[in-house]
């Protein structure tokens, strides 16, 4: 693996001192700021940011680590910047991708044209644990299945953005995108409000309003008058609870738990001090399996009996719809280029990372052969758990994984270890390159698709590490999408 592309310096390598003249144009202003700031001043800014985050109680519980119940997620104060031209391509690519995800859901639960056309093997859909039989023939309001998507992108060169993963179930992280910007506005307001030849920083703060508009646009047919929206959370102990409460607050909707809800005559109600109140659209941040014990797990305490019936009766819209896991499944992922072509008639604007499907014998053989250099993931894993990063694993770990792979190859996919782009990051030893990815957020309502100009940049804080998941010690950065100054000013 050669030297990675750097977001600020390109392929030029890291200089002793930051020279504002020698960086990629989008970074000129930030480079000037870095050049003019001592390490001490940057450290002070970082501490201020930390204090701010701690005070507002941004917390991120790490599973299986009781002491870290409210550990703070690291924040790096050097922003990640994307130029207007770069973003134009990414935005088109994301719209295309999400349109394909929605079309795919509608199709596999409907006419199944893609299976009849033989684009992907039937058993990959029908035998997939994510495929939800209860949704066969279901037609959600506005035809939308994936209302909120987070598409994980990685970058390997100047114009090379690749899709690493689709998140079409309950993607999280948007609150970090919003809070990171708030913190940067407090720390370095002059950098964000400043105008350069590259344009201004496009605002992201309208996200909650756009989300609310999206949710209202997909009110079910049974809704009379203004739709009532609520946000369903698994509760206080969920790692993303802060985000759930944050979004509910910004949208001005109730944050509900399973115990606050009940279904009567196929209509969903919440328990209020004034008696039952009808809910029309539920933005649920609870996994499918815990939504309705009548349909999924009878042992779930989180679920609401009858919820699925309420949807099918046309009295409730769930966002995202049940069953969208079939679209972002890692086994399906490798077919996404074909899926995009099938539904949009065009080549994917954002390519996939090349992927071996270990279920295929030839692929498995190659993967086993090259295991120490590959990244291997469980098809139904998430959060960076249960994966092997070959180059960073010990020989024993590789062998242990080899055994797992042999035992159940269909559970795994493999990818080359990519030279993820790096971004300058403040470390104890000064400014140094750290690998980053990007999760932009895409909203789909009855009236179209909106891509938020920004997203969550996750950064692997450890030197050389490629794992950016916050549950594995990753941090975040503010993400600046530049645009024409007028645009940014008008809507900020």
């Amino acid at each position: 693996m050669g030297a990675a592309f750097d977001e600020m310096f390109g392929h030029g390598g890291y200089p002793e001192r930051v020279d504002p003249q020698a960086v990629r144009p989008a970074y000129a202003q930030v480079a000037a700021w870095l050049a003019a700031s001592s390490q001490e001043l940057l450290e002070t800014r970082r501490r201020q940011a930390e204090l701010f985050f701690r005070r507002i109680g941004i917390t991120f519980a790490v599973y299986g680590d009781p002491d870290a119940d409210e550990r703070l997620i690291p924040f790096d104060i050097i922003p990640r910047i994307i130029s207007a031209e770069e973003w134009a391509v990414v935005e088109e690519g994301l719209k295309q991708r999400v349109a394909a995800l929605n079309a795919f859901c509608a199709d596999v639960y409907g006419a199944r044209e893609i299976l009849r056309a033989g684009v992907l093997p039937e058993d990959l859909v029908f035998a997939n644990p994510q495929f939800c039989l209860h949704q066969l023939g279901f037609r959600p309001a506005g035809g939308v299945w994936v209302h909120i998507a987070g598409i994980d992108l990685v970058r390997t060169g100047p114009g090379e953005f690749l899709v690493l993963e689709d998140n079409a179930r309950t993607p999280s992280g948007v609150s970090y995108m919003l809070e990171n910007r708030e913190v940067m506005l407090r720390l370095v307001p002059e950098l964000i409000t400043g105008e350069t030849d590259e344009g201004g920083v496009r605002p992201v703060e309208t996200y909650p309003e756009q989300l609310y508009a999206t949710l209202r646009s997909v009110a079910p047919p049974g809704c009379r008058g203004e739709p009532t929206v609520a946000l369903l959370t698994p509760g206080l102990h969920n790692s993303a609870y802060y985000e759930h409460s944050f979004l509910a607050d910004k949208m001005g909707v109730e944050l509900v738990e399973g115990s606050d809800l009940f279904v009567h005559d196929d209509v969903l109600y919440m328990r209020t001090t004034a008696g039952p109140a009808r809910v029309d659209v539920l933005y649920r941040r609870v996994d499918d399996a815990f939504l309705d014990p009548l349909v999924f797990r009878p042992d779930s305490l989180l679920g609401i009996p009858g919820l699925v019936r309420a949807c099918h009766a046309g009295n409730l819209t769930l966002a995202n719809a049940i069953g969208t896991g079939i679209a972002d499944d890692k086994a399906i992922y490798s077919y996404m280029p074909e899926i995009v072509r099938f539904y949009t008639g065009r080549d994917p604007i954002l390519p996939n990372v090349p992927t071996w499907r270990c279920r295929e014998p030839e692929a498995l053989a190659e993967v086993l052969d090259r295991l120490p250099e590959l990244v291997v993931k469980e098809v139904d894993g998430s959060g960076g758990y249960g994966m092997l990063v070959g180059p960073h694993a010990t020989a024993a770990e590789v062998e242990a994984f080899r055994a797992k792979l042999r035992a159940d190859p269909a559970k795994f996919i493999a990818q080359p270890t990519l030279a993820l782009s790096t971004c300058p990051t403040l470390t104890d030893a000064g400014i140094a390159p750290r690998h980053v990815d990007l999760r932009p957020f895409i909203l789909t309502g009855a009236h179209g698709v909106t891509v938020i100009p920004g997203g969550l940049t996750r950064v692997a804080m450890r030197e050389g590490s490629l794992v950016v998941n916050s549950s594995q010690g990753g941090g975040t950065k503010d993400t600046w999408v530049l645009g024409p100054g007028t645009d940014a000013r008008a809507s900020s």
Partner: protein, 313 residues
């Protein structure tokens, strides 16, 4: 409003008020303990503090000795005492966190800051100076919480439920404090004892931050029946039972207007207030202060239950 949120807000109000009461109790006890034992100070002051916190049984079950360090640790920071300041703030914050959406950012930040502050002190307070600093810090944070709520919260059920919790808890604290001391609160017909009692009375007043208020209201030396009068019947005194019930009636009325009907809790609160308004301190002493306070505490609990039932907690 979600019933769960209403319950959380109500209890948030109660826990914050309890933490504040404990701070003031510790504050007053530190002063009292500085006096010689013949004046009710030294060790007996801490014994009295445990009683005034209604925590005698809980403390006894720890098997620890009744020393100033042990008692102050137990009341201030003991994670094993569910009514310690630390635990009250912990639960207040958990409740607040569960309803982040109902609180303004500043109100949440204030309770979160109070919790962070008390965490810094760990689970033992050591010397008196540390304890005083803890008490002062928590008091300041809770004032910030109240201020943020008062200045910024929308005047809607969110605010009213929280304030209602405050009123009910306050009434409970004041009544229990008085009941622990009823034997030294004497009617004006009884001969008043020596200086020992004087310090007991002023400690009661300090515990509810009312010593200066007493002087303003009565312009008289500290006399036990007037202490009782101030803390039970004077509406101008914000921690008096009458003032607490006036508040409770007010917030219950607001909630009733909002939902369009009154309920059993409204009627209980109004009846309670009427009873207090009909009393004078003399009639109260005639019937027996202890009996009156026991009945009040029971009625106040019943009102708490009625509030929960009426709003489908």
């Amino acid at each position: 409003m979600l019933s769960r949120n209403a319950a959380n807000l109500y209890w948030l109000g109660r826990y914050v008020e309890r933490a504040d009461y404990l701070c003031r109790l510790l504050d007053a006890t530190i002063r009292l303990a500085a006096l010689p034992a013949t004046h009710g100070g030294a060790g007996t002051a801490w014994e009295a503090a445990i009683l005034s916190a209604s925590a005698a049984e809980a403390f006894a079950s720890t098997g620890r000795r009744m020393t100033d360090t042990e008692v102050s640790r137990f009341l201030a920071v003991d994670p094993a005492n569910p009514s310690s300041i630390r635990c009250c703030l912990e639960r207040a914050r958990t409740n607040a966190r569960a309803l982040r959406t109902a609180l303004t950012a500043e109100t949440w930040e204030a309770i979160n800051a109070a919790w962070l502050e008390v965490q810094r002190f760990g689970t033992s307070v050591g010397e008196t100076l540390t304890l005083m600093r803890l008490v002062e810090t928590v008091k300041q944070s809770l004032l910030a919480f109240d201020g943020a709520a008062h200045r910024n919260q929308l005047r809607e059920p969110t605010y009213w439920f929280m304030r209602l919790g405050t009123s009910i808890e306050r009434a409970d604290n004041t009544a229990r404090l008085l009941d622990q001391k009823y034997h030294i609160l004497l009617p004006r017909t009884e001969p008043v004892g020596g200086s020992l009692d004087y310090f007991q009375w002023t400690t009661i007043l300090r515990t509810v931050s009312a010593l200066t208020a007493y002087r303003w209201v009565y312009r008289d030396a500290v006399k036990p029946w007037l202490v009782a009068d101030l803390l039970i019947l004077r509406k101008a005194m914000p921690r008096s039972l009458a003032a607490c019930y006036e508040d409770a009636v007010f917030y219950l009325d607001r909630l009733a207007l909002d939902r369009g009907r009154q309920g059993p809790a409204n009627r209980l609160a109004v009846a309670g207030l009427k009873r207090l308004e009909a009393e004078t301190i003399d009639t109260l002493f005639q019937r027996g202060l202890h009996e009156f306070l026991l009945q009040f505490i029971a009625d106040n609990n019943a009102l708490g239950d009625a509030i929960a039932e009426q709003h489908l907690f």
